[in-house]
């Protein structure tokens, strides 16, 4: 279980998170939604130590990891993988080397063994035949699949997806959505998905937390969201430019 407890984060004069408290249950898919720039990615990066809170605590399975050093975060990052918004594959490496990188670094395996494991993970996303090609040869959808394969290399218990379907065509987006669902159903992986893609949100999420003005506005099931009478939530769902939400 992941617990964010009263997280505050400021960048210069801008207070992005103003006391966010959120709990993520094991094996479930939580969507964190909200407008662009509201701090969704900022919040999830606190879990893996890519950002540190100004105040507040982060707990992973009951252990306070807030003040961990960079090295202490390595095992945390092994358990909690992250798929970044831009896929962030390294252009100078083949797809196989990209996927093998976490295996070599975290497990400290020999190149040959790491590559064999990486090929197996690429097969999971149907990219094993393209293993020796470079990321620049592929579009966003394919790159995202490889990024997901890379995130799964260490068999993580938790996976953070940062806007996984943004910029993808509807078919690729559906494939990614299905992969997230499968991870939870088949392997029991807990997923935290940062998104504002309504179709994904309502088809995949077990729970939704909406971030607004640095705080959690609503935390509940997709059904609770649909039924919510909160005008901010309703405006987000309807996508109307008119309403209380500041654009």
């Amino acid at each position: 279980m992941i617990v964010f407890d009263d997280i505050h984060k400021r960048f210069g004069p801008k207070l992005v998170l103003e006391g966010v408290s959120l709990t993520v249950a094991k094996g479930r898919i939580l969507f964190i939604i909200g407008q662009s720039g509201v701090g969704k990615s900022v919040l999830v990066k606190h879990l893996v130590g890519l950002l540190r809170p100004d105040s507040g605590r982060v707990f992973l399975d009951g252990v306070d990891i807030t003040d961990y050093s960079e090295k202490q975060f390595y095992p945390v990052r092994k358990r909690c993988a992250m798929v970044f918004q831009n896929s962030t594959l390294f252009d100078s490496m083949t797809l196989l080397d990209n996927v093998a990188l976490p295996i070599r670094k975290h497990k400290r395996l020999r190149d040959k063994v790491a590559r064999r494991e990486a090929l197996g993970k690429l097969a999971l996303v149907g990219m094993e035949n393209e293993a020796l090609r470079y990321p620049a040869d592929f579009g966003d959808g394919m790159r995202k699949k490889v990024a997901i394969a890379r995130a799964l290399t260490l068999d993580p218990e938790y996976v953070i997806f940062d806007e996984p379907t943004t910029g993808l065509d509807p078919i690729s987006a559906n494939i990614v959505d299905r992969m997230i669902r499968d991870l939870s159903d088949r392997l029991g992986v807990t997923s935290i998905v940062v998104s504002h893609d309504l179709k994904s949100i309502f088809s995949v999420a077990d729970r939704i937390a909406m971030l607004y003005k640095g705080q959690i506005r609503l935390d509940g099931t997709p059904e609770a969201f649909r039924r919510s009478e909160d005008p901010v939530v309703q405006q987000f769902i309807s996508g109307s430019p008119e309403g209380p939400m500041e654009v």
């Binding site: 960048f11 990066k45 893996v48 130590g49 890519l50 960079e70 390595y74 990052r77 092994k78 993988a81 992250m82 970044f84 918004q85 831009n86 962030t88 390294f90 990188l101 976490p102 670094k105 975290h106």
Partner: protein, 288 residues
């Protein structure tokens, strides 16, 4: 007493005075903030640079190196700077010899010591600092832009997620290549500037080549100080520029800021190191 004083004070100044007094602490806070913010920025930047330098030195001697990347960086640094350095150092050599030749002609008319005096000056001062400033401009921007782009596109975060230390992966190859190539480029720039000066002295003042080519005034101390400065500059430029790249934030605007910071901070570092190493050099090896 306090009450009376307070009453008097409010009576004499009225409501405007109360407002002014209430504003005073916030104005003082604003002034302190406007002075403190740049000081804090400078101190934190210097702290970050030293931290990055410490990590770069540590990982240079520990762990596996990416030697293919070191060779690639050597090629990048040399390739990026060669034409720029050749043109600037050749013109610098021509200008310095032409201007000093005019003075010599006016005062003594004896050109025999021109090359002999010029060479130690080049080795000890001009080549290291001018060469390093050019490398800081040409190479520092490239390093900051490359690393800064990786930061804003979250590639550095992806490295950290894969248990890879960004300083070890990104800065150490540039650090090793920077030390080696700065030395090579400064030796090359000395040669270019000296040869350009020799040609100028021959064409304008009819100084024979063998008279100008005089290394009798070059001391081991000049060589030692020149090489020490060059090594320091070679270490400082990749570290300062790399740190500027790692500190990038936001989008393309952040990368722009990082490249500007890389040039400004690297140039400042070169000037300050020149002063420090030069000063220590003069104390250890007095000129007289």
């Amino acid at each position: 007493m306090t009450g009376v004083g307070a009453d008097r004070s409010s009576g004499s100044t009225g409501s405007t005075g109360e407002g002014e007094r209430a504003d005073r602490p916030s104005r003082i806070a604003d002034i302190l903030a406007s002075v403190g913010a740049p000081v804090f920025y400078v101190l934190s930047t210097v702290g970050d640079v030293f931290k990055t330098f410490g990590l770069a030195v540590y990982y240079t001697f520990r762990g596996k190196k990416r030697w293919d990347e070191v060779i690639n960086q050597c090629y990048q640094i040399g390739n990026r700077s060669l034409v720029f350095i050749t043109v600037v150092m050749a013109f610098l050599g021509m200008i310095l010899i032409f201007q000093s030749g005019l003075q010599v002609k006016r005062i003594t008319g004896d050109f025999s010591q021109m090359g002999a005096v010029y060479l130690p000056l080049l080795i000890r001062q001009f080549s290291p600092i001018i060469g390093a400033l050019m490398i800081a401009t040409r190479v520092g921007t490239g390093i900051a832009a490359e690393i800064g782009s990786m930061v804003v596109t979250e590639q550095v975060d992806a490295l950290r997620m894969n248990a890879t230390q960004p300083v070890k992966y990104l800065i150490v190859p540039r650090f090793i290549a920077g030390i080696f190539m700065t030395l090579v480029l400064v030796v090359y720039s000395t040669l270019v500037s000296f040869l350009a000066g020799m040609l100028t002295a021959h064409v304008y003042f009819e100084v024979p080549y063998d008279t100008f080519w005089d290394i009798s005034l070059v001391r081991w101390a000049d060589l030692l100080i020149g090489v020490t400065k060059t090594l320091c500059f070679g270490m400082a430029i990749p570290v300062v520029s790399g740190q500027a790249g790692l500190a990038a934030f936001g989008g393309s605007e952040g990368v722009g800021w990082a490249t500007t910071a890389a040039v400004v901070n690297s140039s400042l570092a070169v000037i300050m190191l020149d002063f420090v190493v030069g000063g220590v050099g003069f104390m250890v090896f007095p000129t007289n």
